[in-house]
């Protein structure tokens, strides 16, 4: 809602000193029906996923695809290179035998799974993103050290400027401040 009140505003940021206060507050934000909001913590907080109502990620399925791709690639590569493109007879061994292909197949399966995990995770998280409005807040610097935050974005359909600010303050936050876009 781009009213005059929210113009140039990214949202509100509420600071909490204790982790359990954040979890209680997050459950209330979720129940109030906000959708464009987030919690920021220096380490993964236990029970916060449930309090925020975050659903499971599809990352494992991507990794499965990556692993299967590695497996297929390794088998096809070994067969094609040693038995088809340049048949390479050595010590009377079969040109392509599954037992001898196992180590390389295993390694490439792991390699492609790991690369998918790494790039998939950052991709789904939309990182790297070196600029973000929250970095404008001096207070927010402690989000990676010893403070716990909730941010509600002005783009949220339920966002109501001053009322949202009061709502956050009522959750037991130590401080609530606006963040410029």
């Amino acid at each position: 809602m781009a009213t005059r009140e929210t113009h140039g505003l990214y949202g509100y940021l509420a600071e909490f000193r204790e982790p359990w206060d954040l979890i209680d507050a997050a459950a209330k934000v979720r129940d109030a029906g906000y959708t464009r909001w987030d919690c920021h913590t220096p380490f993964p907080l236990h029970g916060l996923d449930r309090a925020m109502g975050i659903r499971g990620t599809r990352l494992p399925w991507l990794v499965l695809c990556g692993g299967l791709a590695g497996l297929t690639l390794a088998l096809v590569m070994q067969w094609w290179m040693n038995a088809h493109d340049y048949p390479f007879l050595i010590s009377g061994k079969p040109l392509f035998g599954l037992p001898a292909a196992v180590p390389v197949t295993f390694e490439l399966t792991v390699l492609l799974s790991a690369l998918t995990t790494f790039f998939g995770m950052w991709g789904l998280n939309l990182l790297p993103q070196h600029h973000h409005p929250l970095f404008g807040s001096e207070r927010f610097r402690r989000a990676t050290s010893d403070r716990f935050f909730i941010s509600i974005e002005a783009r949220d359909p339920l966002f109501q400027g001053e009322r949202t600010r009061e709502f956050l303050a009522g959750l037991g936050a130590d401080a609530v401040e606006p963040v410029e876009d």
Partner: protein
């Protein structure tokens, strides 16, 4: 060593099953822990001792590169390799360094899956060590090929001979195993470090730091929607690294085991190599961490409990290695193969008996002292024994590689292998490279995984609210699994 190391004043090794193990002592909270770990990196000038150490280690590393330059200029004849011993120190050093790396992956992946919370204090350091050890390991086979300018033939890349590498050779399996291991270790280490790099970015006061840490922190802002996927990715990487670490030294052992040389052609090699790798890796973690925790004042984060637990792992794996030595002899006798029997009698009583008994003393006898709690909880004693283990594990690889080759089936072709000065200086120089990288790591990167340690810290007034640690890393809450 006793002069350099003081005895720990805080002892948290007492075992009380009714209470959770105290992993961080000294009353740290989130703020002071961040200050402590970041303070090491943020200190404007490095301590004088650090510069002295760096200068010394970097010169050793430079010496290694000079030796490699000379090797490339003159050819592999500058080494002690000759018939019948075509695999000398280069292969010994390769296996030694790859083995060192294994502890890091074990701590970061296997102990993670086993929910061993004490790993959080040491995993960053151990993982860094893994990567540096693999760097050192990778150098040796690279320069051993003789014509280093065609080293890319190791990889299945199209070349002007229109030939492909032989995928039925264990040496090629090794290329894939070590390559995958290095890549996955690096991804795992970096992924774990991103939240801590963000901490350093947010505390940075100079422009250079803001840009450098900011770039590598990827814009991490501690979002819980990110943490959610991050933790899933971390779990998957741990799950992938677990079979990987066991496979790497298995594949390294295939280099030996799939050949027909007596003393190499045995099925016990893969598990025996893996146990030895973990054994030597933990010894190296201790060798680096004991001085580091002393000099940087990290005794409340890397506590006596951590050291004692690692000592127990060294005792267990050292005993496994001793058992493997005995099994080899038993099978040589029980298998009834005269060539195999000769290989083992020659190993223990032949011209390399001195190396064999150094190996047994260092690897089998010295860790047995860890049955005594007094020794397990004395940093000075731990350090000395761990250095012995490092020496012993190098000799193990020497004994395996050289004794079998020097006396194989044809007595007319027997020989005695001696390293040259170039061999020795190259190996010594690899320690220079390793410790140079360790020193740079300690100066510029957070050596304690802060975000992970915070999840296992005891909290003030915690009992009033929830009776469990706050962290999600270890899934201590069964209902959330």
């Amino acid at each position: 060593m006793g002069i350099l190391l003081t005895r720990d004043t805080i002892d948290n090794t007492a075992h009380d099953p009714a209470r959770p193990q105290e992993l961080i002592t000294g009353g740290y909270d989130f703020t002071t822990l961040t200050d402590k770990v970041c303070g090491i990196v943020e200190r404007p000038g490095a301590p004088r001792a650090w510069w002295v150490a760096l200068g010394f280690m970097a010169s050793l590393a430079a010496m290694m590169f000079a030796m490699i330059g000379y090797l490339i200029y003159k050819g592999v004849g500058v080494w002690g390799l000759n018939n019948p011993v075509g695999w000398g120190w280069a292969i010994v050093n390769f296996v030694f360094w790859v083995g060192i790396g294994h502890a890091g992956t074990l701590i970061s992946a296997i102990l993670y899956l086993l929910r061993q919370q004490w790993r959080t204090s040491i995993n960053r350091f151990a993982e860094a060590m893994t990567i540096f050890a693999v760097v050192c390991a990778g150098i040796f086979p690279g320069i051993h090929v003789g014509r280093v300018w065609v080293v890319w033939w190791l990889f299945p890349l199209p070349n002007y001979q229109a030939m492909w590498p032989n995928f039925r050779s264990p040496l090629l399996w090794d290329v894939f195993a070590v390559g995958t291991y290095a890549t996955v270790s690096l991804l795992f280490w970096y992924t774990g470090m991103v939240p801590d790099l963000a901490t350093l970015r947010d505390r940075a006061t100079t422009k250079v730091r803001k840009i450098a840490y900011g770039f590598f922190a990827l814009g991490w802002r501690g979002s819980n929607r990110h943490w959610h996927r991050y933790e899933k990715a971390y779990l998957i990487l741990a799950g992938l690294a677990t079979p990987l670490v066991l496979s790497v030294h298995s594949v390294v052992s295939f280099d030996f085991a799939t050949s027909q040389i007596p003393g190499w052609h045995t099925t016990i090699f893969p598990p025996y190599f893996v146990a030895g790798a973990i054994f030597s890796g933990f010894a190296m973690v201790m060798t680096c961490l004991i001085p580091a925790r002393e000099w940087y004042g990290l005794k409340n984060i890397v506590t006596l409990y951590h050291l004692e637990t690692m000592a127990k792992i060294i005792l267990a794996t050292g005993t496994m290695v001793g058992y493997a030595y005995a099994t080899e002899f038993f099978i040589a006798w029980y298998g009834g193969n005269p060539a195999e029997q000769f290989a083992f009698i020659n190993r223990a009583f032949g011209p390399y008996a001195w190396a064999y008994w150094i190996m047994v003393t260092c690897n089998v006898v010295s860790p047995q002292l860890f049955w005594f709690k007094k020794i397990r909880t004395s940093p000075a004693a731990l350090l000395v024994i761990c250095i012995f283990v490092n020496i012993g594990m190098w000799f193990e690889r020497f004994v395996i590689t050289v004794t079998s080759l020097s006396r194989d089936f044809l007595p007319a072709a027997w020989g005695y292998y001696r390293p040259t000065a170039i061999d020795i200086l190259t190996f010594v120089g690899s320690f220079g490279l390793f410790f140079t990288l360790v020193l740079l790591f300690m100066r510029f990167l957070p050596m304690i995984a802060m975000a992970e340690v915070k999840t296992v810290m005891p909290q003030k007034h915690w009992e009033d609210k929830v009776s469990r640690p706050v962290g999600d890393y270890h899934g201590t809450n069964p209902e959330d699994r």
